[in-house]
Amino acid sequence: MVSTWRNMSPRTRREALEGYLALLPWIIGFLAFTILPVGISIYLSFTEWDIMTDPKWIGLDNYERMFTNDPLFTQSLKVTGKFVLFSLPLKIILGLALALLLNLKVPGMNFYRTVFYIPAVISGVAVSLMWMWLLQPDTGIINTLLDQVGIKGPNWFWDPDWALPSVALMSVWKVGGSAIIYLAGLQNIPQHLYEAAKIDGAGRWARFRRVTIPLLTPTIFFQLVIEMIDSFKVFTEAFVITQGGPLKATFFYLLYFYQEAFENFNMGYASALALVLTAIILISTVILNYTSKRWVFYESE
């Protein structure tokens, strides 16, 4: 680093200094509120700690158990992976579709935008409880409505095959939150590009494909990364509604982590679990980031 520093021209050096200055708030926050807790977690992952008495150093035992002898770890990873693969594309596409709809400049749209935002607003626990009632198999509103049109509704959260899709359905319902971010991104597409495309004879679909999508790729990339992190960290729904069941169909990774940490008081093992999850998400993000060079288009670069 020192050598690169020396090779810099005064101007680039100045810019670099300004860069670090701009980052300073984050760097301070990182050092104060992240480095320490994460460092401690790394240490704890090599120990056995019941939270109440002193941690005991056990070397790599936690990791060894995780990778060689823990069916619950494998199960939770499988369930979470399935959830990510299933819900991520759904959320990305539906969020964008909703945003395009909400971006229409018609009178009264303010009202609709607010309505679609409501699901994202109600906090996790209340929403989860709400959904439990709605999806109650024989007396819930959804199945009652389905019954009226002659469809026999599934057992939703209480069917091992339907439980995971039910949780995904819930998260899709909250898509109004991510639609907001798409909306913000859509505003950054200069109108003159559309007009230029129109003059070239491009139809609606062509304009969408050739102007909207490419210029929206930075936002789509953002959504992909964020929603992926979120999906990997799915927790509240399972914690409140299914407790991981039935038959561990919704035994999400973070639920397992929480049970180990705060119910079984295996903080050492839980720390190892948390770090492995972080590593998994990090690797996935790096891969996404790598592919982004091919498909994400930045006007400034």
Partner: protein, 294 residues
């Protein structure tokens, strides 16, 4: 609209008529789709509303009803009489304002650094920043408590406010992505005019960033308002509790007062919706309406 074509009055009339009809058809079909979707999205909310107006043991009667036999409006009064919800909402509002200030001070600066300035290890630092979002929050609970305890900040609002001044990675990332879509020519032009780095940020870039700044405000409001775990851990004084903790009181040890819980929850989301309702005009109509030519 059709500035290039020369039209006779009759032609113009036919054109306008056609345009208006198309517009009406477009609008009507948009409304139909939106209304149908809106109803689906509102089912849970309507059910909450209906529950909040029912008697405590009427909620699970069979067959279920949408409209209560008698409207128990007093549930709302009772919910507010039971706990100082207005006070809790006031506390939340204070936290919201402070957090918004914090994010607005820190995020643009940091995001600008990542998006525009060149310096060694930028990519590594950026990944590092993203990775802090990936660490499960619960793992940091105990060590962070130690940190704030050493700082003598337990039972104060500091642990709930301070972190926002160091930038939320989610917003930083969002803003970086947005700034990167703003043409660099703008910066260059300003630089030639003698503007410094910070002038460019605050005079050129930031005014173009209305939509993401609005997102920051809306989301900070939402997350701060709904945060339960952090205030729970750091606050001891009942009078300092935010609304999220207030709502949790309705879920008792042995049973839940569903009607009161739903009434309180519904009231608690109103401020978020109001803010969003008024914020959205800044979300819509950003750079495109300013009309920069690239």
């Amino acid at each position: 609209m059709s500035q290039n074509s020369i039209t006779t009055p009759r032609h113009r009339w036919r054109n306008d008529w056609w345009l208006i009809t198309r517009k009406i058809i477009g609008h009507v079909s948009a409304y139909v789709i939106m209304t149908a979707l809106a109803l689906v999205f509102m089912i849970p909310l309507l059910w909450m509303l209906s529950t909040s107006l029912k008697g405590r043991w009427e909620i699970f009667a069979w067959p279920p009803t949408w409209i209560p036999e008698t409207f128990h409006w007093e549930n709302y009064q009772e919910a507010f009489a039971k706990y100082p919800l207005a006070r809790f909402m006031g506390n939340s509002a204070f936290l919201v304002v402070m957090n918004i200030i914090g994010e607005l001070v820190s995020v643009p600066l940091i995001a600008y650094g990542f998006a525009r300035l060149r310096f060694p290890y930028k990519k590594t630092l950026f990944m590092l920043m993203l990775s802090t979002m990936m660490v499960p929050g619960h793992i940091k609970l105990i060590p962070l408590y130690n940190v704030f305890s050493r700082l003598d900040m337990i039972d104060t609002y500091w642990p709930l406010i301070l972190p926002s001044f160091f930038g939320n990675p989610f917003f930083i990332f969002l803003m970086v992505q947005y700034i990167r879509t703003i043409p660099r020519e703008l910066d260059e032009a300003a630089r030639i005019d003698g503007a410094g780095t910070w002038t460019i940020l605050y005079r050129i870039i930031l005014p173009l960033c209305r939509p993401p700044l609005t997102v920051i405000i809306v989301f900070t409001f939402l997350w701060t308002w709904n945060d339960f775990l952090q205030p729970l851990v750091y606050l001891n004084d009942f009078n300092k509790y935010p609304i999220a903790i207030g709502l949790a009181f309705f879920r008792g040890r042995y049973s839940v007062e569903w009607n009161l819980f739903m009434a309180a929850t519904l009231v608690s989301i109103i401020p978020i919706l109001i803010i969003y309702f008024f914020a959205q005009k800044h979300l819509i109509g950003g750079i495109s309406s300013i009309g920069i030519k690239g």
